[in-house]
């Protein structure tokens, strides 16, 4: 078996300036990583260096700054491509996962008719529901859901995928349940039915080595800011054979090969999907974030975060009057959603904040899933490789304190 490099967490934490501060007089314990991760100095430096030394618009610049910016921007495509085992031209920069999925819904939507159906799951984030819901409203197609079982795993024995399914779009990792879905298995079902297979990788790409060829995905969407990059930069990967055939969704500068008064022809991929001045520093900083992740090793990150999640699960299960959502063990990672019985998640989060602990509380942008789970809202503690067992212990102790307040 391959030896996994152990992470030196104390050293790693020093790379993240934000982590050393106090919040409400307590050491910050940041457990809201599924919403957005913190950024290492290296990534912050990449942004400031761009603005200090080579800020310039990309493409068509015949001057030194513009050349450097263009080069770095192109390198960022390449860096992202290698990270997920894709080719450079298959990487489209967007604002975030949401925009990537909307782009797909619009562009692929042109071929959808009222005879077709689109399949998603009950555990999707709103970003992987509403674009398809709207597409189905526009076209008269049917939106179908793969159900989840009591444990919070997908029921793949009874999927609604059939010959009329044109698109299957699912989350790799649920942002509420933490479930890691068997994407390869679903890819297989989708492809057998000649449907396109889309994966929302927002919660998986930061944690798990995702190889687009291995999981046989046709499109993959993810966000830079959940994997150490800045906000406002996201990725859409698409197989080039599909991207080449697809129409762009945004029109304007940078995405054409020729324009006349009457008509326009599109640039090659990925440029035809990247209209207008892109988020240059975002792309460059995302490349820097990927360097940081690769330096630690995705296997090391995955193994550390999985262990920490298992430890947190054990600690939370020791509490009385707690409901924990999602699979107890096995195929899950990075986050735990829970409710303290009789205490509203907002109150839990507010009181934890007094202890310096940042968690998320609410419907997690997954209202249909909340309905299936028969709750309005949950608390979510989500981890990254800079979190520690001591922090988890403090979370558990603080949750006991919260219960004390409401006794």
């Amino acid at each position: 078996m391959k030896q996994i490099k152990q992470l030196d967490i104390e050293k790693i934490r020093n790379d993240f300036p934000i982590l050393s501060q106090k919040v409400n007089g307590k050491n910050l314990i940041y457990l809201d990583n599924s919403a957005t991760s913190q950024k290492p100095q290296k990534v912050i430096d990449a942004i400031t260096e761009y603005y200090k030394s080579y800020n310039s618009n990309v493409h068509r610049a015949i001057h030194s700054l513009g050349e450097k910016a263009t080069l770095k921007f192109e390198e960022a495509h390449e860096k992202v491509a290698k990270f997920i085992n894709a080719e450079k031209e298959e990487i489209i920069f967007t604002r975030n996962t949401t925009e990537s999925l909307n782009l797909l819904a619009y562009s692929l939507g042109k071929n959808i008719t009222s005879k077709d159906n689109v399949v998603i799951t009950e555990m999707e984030h709103h970003s992987n529901i509403i674009p398809w819901q709207q597409l189905c409203k526009r076209t008269g197609a049917e939106l179908r859901y793969i159900k989840i079982d009591k444990e919070g795993k997908l029921d793949l024995k009874n999927t609604p995928i059939d010959n009329n399914t044109k698109i299957v779009s699912i989350a790799h990792v649920s942002n509420v349940l933490g479930t890691i879905n068997p994407v390869k298995e679903i890819a297989n079902i989708a492809h057998k039915n000649k449907a396109l297979f889309i994966v929302d990788g927002a919660q998986s790409v930061p944690h798990i080595k995702v190889d687009v060829k291995d999981i046989e995905v046709d499109f993959l969407a993810f966000s830079g800011h959940k994997m150490l990059g800045p906000t406002g930069i996201g990725v859409l990967y698409g197989k080039k054979e599909y991207l080449k055939k697809m129409n762009p969704v945004f029109f304007g500068g940078g995405m054409i090969s020729n324009v006349t008064k009457e008509d326009a022809q599109w640039a090659d991929i990925p440029n035809k999907f990247e209209a207008g001045t892109p988020n240059i520093e975002g792309a460059i900083a995302l490349a820097s974030a990927i360097e940081y992740l690769e330096n630690l090793g995705m296997d090391s990150i995955n193994s550390y975060v999985k262990d920490l999640t298992t430890y947190a699960m054990k600690k939370l299960l020791e509490l009385n009057n707690i409901t924990i959502y999602g699979p107890e063990n096995g195929d899950r990672t990075a986050l735990i959603s829970f409710n303290l019985i009789g205490i509203h998640p907002h109150d839990v989060a507010q009181l934890l904040d007094k202890e310096g602990i940042a968690v998320r509380a609410g419907h997690m942008c997954a209202k249909p899933l909340m309905q299936v789970m028969d709750t309005q809202s949950v608390c979510r503690a989500s981890f990254y490789f800079y979190n520690t067992k001591q922090e988890v212990d403090f979370l558990a102790d603080s949750l006991k304190k919260v219960q004390g307040v409401f006794k």
């Binding site: 998640p345 907002h346 109150d347 009181l351 419907h363 309005q376 809202s377 304190k401 307040v405």
Partner: protein
């Protein structure tokens, strides 16, 4: 931790006053807190432009439930025109605990629902 939620506020949360719904109300309005999906339904009876009876069916956090409970006590016999003019400040004073900007929506949910219900009732 404990000083954030005072005993009095917790008492209103655990034993909300005027909880539930009135039958045959003059005002009936439901609203949702988009942050967490919490719901509140307000029902009220009006006589001579004043609140005669009011009930909140609020299911939510301590802040939103306590705010509804405290409001229900304050608002009896208040005129609709007075209630329309009420804003953040009065609710925050009523709660008497520090409310962070993110929790304002929780604190104001019940008042906003009632105000919308009043506008609906008056056809405004």
């Amino acid at each position: 931790m404990i000083d954030l939620y005072q005993e009095e506020l917790l008492d209103h949360y655990k034993n909300p006053r005027n909880f539930g719904t009135l039958s045959n109300p003059d005002i009936e309005f439901s609203d949702t807190n988009p942050l967490c999906g919490d719901e509140v339904k307000v029902t009220a009876k009006i006589i001579n432009g004043k609140i005669q009876e009011i009930k909140f069916d609020s299911r939510g956090c301590a802040i939103s439930v306590a705010a509804a409970s405290k409001l229900s006590e304050l608002l009896k016999n208040k005129s609709l025109s007075e209630i329309k003019k009420m804003d953040n400040k009065e609710v925050l004073e009523l709660l008497g605990v520090p409310i962070s900007p993110m929790r304002l929506k929780c604190a104001l949910l019940s008042l906003r629902a009632l105000q919308k219900g009043i506008y609906q009732n008056l056809g405004e």
